[in-house]
Symmetry: none
Subunit: 204 residues, 4 copies
């Protein structure tokens, strides 16, 4: 389990250059898995298919990921790590900003992230959880709550926590509206407006 995490976070694990080929292999396998999980869902995707799309043998895939779950977790972990990093960056810029401004920035960040990392959304709600995923979500909540807590004026801690749950889910609503671009954009704007007003009125 530990080794899986380490592989998944290989970005943070600078190895010797002779392992470069290996890292490329792992990246290709994860990319292939992510793409297929998004296209067909976790259950409908087979390990053989994942290996094939990455141009690798099935044995090679199992060389790096002991189970299908482990692969999904590695992909999700990588995504979550990226999101976390971005949220950290926002943290600095947000200090002292009004809540509505923070909400706007968060909207943009999450919107971009979910659009460019579809696997995150696809793998986030897998059943059979009760552990690792919970921690990951908790971390995300804390980061977002911290964002709102350091606004000026600061949001009450309770509300910040509630918004940390709500906002990421809000951003997933327009994603389902594929093929209805106009409605999608309208919904996104409506959501932004709703949240902004909520935060402005709240402080008045």
């Amino acid at each position: 389990m530990n080794s899986v995490r380490r592989d998944a976070l290989s970005v943070a694990n600078p190895r010797a250059p002779q392992r470069k080929r290996g890292r490329e292999r792992v990246a290709a396998l994860m990319a292939s898995g992510a793409a297929l999980f998004v296209e067909k869902g976790f259950d409908a995707t087979t390990m053989t298919e994942i290996a094939a799309r990455a141009g690798a043998a099935i044995g090679t895939l199992y060389l790096f990921f002991p189970t299908k779950e482990a692969l999904a977790q590695a992909i999700l972990a990588e995504n979550a790590e990226g999101l976390s990093t971005q949220l950290d960056t926002l943290q600095e810029r947000a200090r002292g900003q009004p809540p509505a401004a923070i909400a706007d920035a968060l909207f943009e960040l999450l919107g971009d992230f979910l659009a460019t990392h579809p696997a995150y959304s696809a793998l986030l709600d897998l059943p059979g959880d009760e552990g690792w995923r919970r921690k990951m979500r908790a971390r995300r909540r804390e980061q977002i709550a911290a964002l709102f807590a350091q606004a000026e004026p600061p949001l009450p801690l309770g509300q910040a926590e509630r918004l940390a749950v709500i906002v990421p889910q809000l951003m997933r609503i327009p994603l389902a509206l594929i093929g209805e671009k106009r409605l999608r954009d309208g919904v996104l704007e409506e959501l932004r407006l709703m949240l902004a007003r909520h935060l402005q009125v709240g402080q008045g």
Copy 2:
């Protein structure tokens, strides 16, 4: 109630039972399936398990539902039918009410419905038979949009449509917070507040 059931079935299930015993069996099988789909998810639930929990043989299950998808669709159709009926009822009471009041009533209706019909949420996002699902969602959207469109003052048609997409999804957010009752209630209240303010400010 009988007519509702029959309608729901006629969409998803060509082989409708003709005797009383058969109709009872079908109801038991659908209940068993719904419970298991909620507990373990669609993919992780086996047809054998569904039949066993209903006290029926596997062949009996397939006698009425030719595939697992057909069973899921029949369950979803029944649920959707129930929701639609409830929304119709709301329609009359809502005429001439202010938007915020309608939103509140909708919140209560959807909250109750999702809590008492967990299979609806569990099966709503499944892939397969996209045409049928599209129609089902479209109907729900139209009903909710109509609700807002006949408020006093009436909401612009565009906004009514956007809210018809947004509100049902909002209500699914607290559902994920199982085991965190306090947070769950807080989130629900926060959402209600957010929507109410949005509609009050919107008309000002």
Copy 3:
């Protein structure tokens, strides 16, 4: 088993008129079975399907035929009986005719029969035999052999027996050429010519 045979040969079993309805039922079931066996083959045809096409319930089908095999056998028996009767008729007309003339008459009879009784060919070669079908074939052989044996000049018994095997199989060859009518007619004519010459030369 005896009862099955009796039902199948109900033509030869004049019952009271109050059973007329029953005989119609049986006939419809056999016709339905025959048609489906021809269209899809014995294995691919289900008992439920047979009953449905006859407008009867599955239980009704089993009321008359204890197994699927029994139904097939009843159909085949009826067909074989018809063929046997026709061969008997030919028997009288053929006495004293030259072999080639008999062969021609046999060709016409078999050609007509196989074309109008496709179930005969479809059910004749079912596996898992070793008994009843063997007797049926033996009877047919004897009838045809007798036909040739009483020609003028008479064919040697051995050759008559061999031709009794060969001729019915010859007639099945053109049947496979569906959709190639010209070739089919040509093949039939070629076969007729081949047999006629064989019999003329043989006696010269």
Copy 4:
């Protein structure tokens, strides 16, 4: 021989084995399938049984043949390829021979082939993938027709085509007479004689 096998497989089987062990497995599985199809017929033979007789796991069978039909087709293709090769060989020896001599040679070739390749006859009349089967039969017809067309004196093209349909079917007639060896041999001889006379008289 290797090239023949590969050709036959490439038609029916997309997943060709790449290692020596795999090729041996495939051969064993096809042999097992062929034997069982002959013994019990296509429908009565189960995939489990085929795998067991080959000493392989059921998954291994499906590794190479995605369906039972695909296995049957692969076997049939291999057989057809073998027959085609033999007919090609005859082609050279037959040039300039009188039609009756060609017919005799064809009789011997087909008789031997059918006796040593019982799966060919057992699988030839199966339904499914009519396009492929049509081509296979067309090829066989062309080869045999060509045989007769280059006789001395040459047979008219139309007759050559008709005989190309007839002769292979003639050869299947004695095959049904298992357990009646004397009759079987007699029938075979009678057929040979019939065809020889037909061709001699035909040219007179």
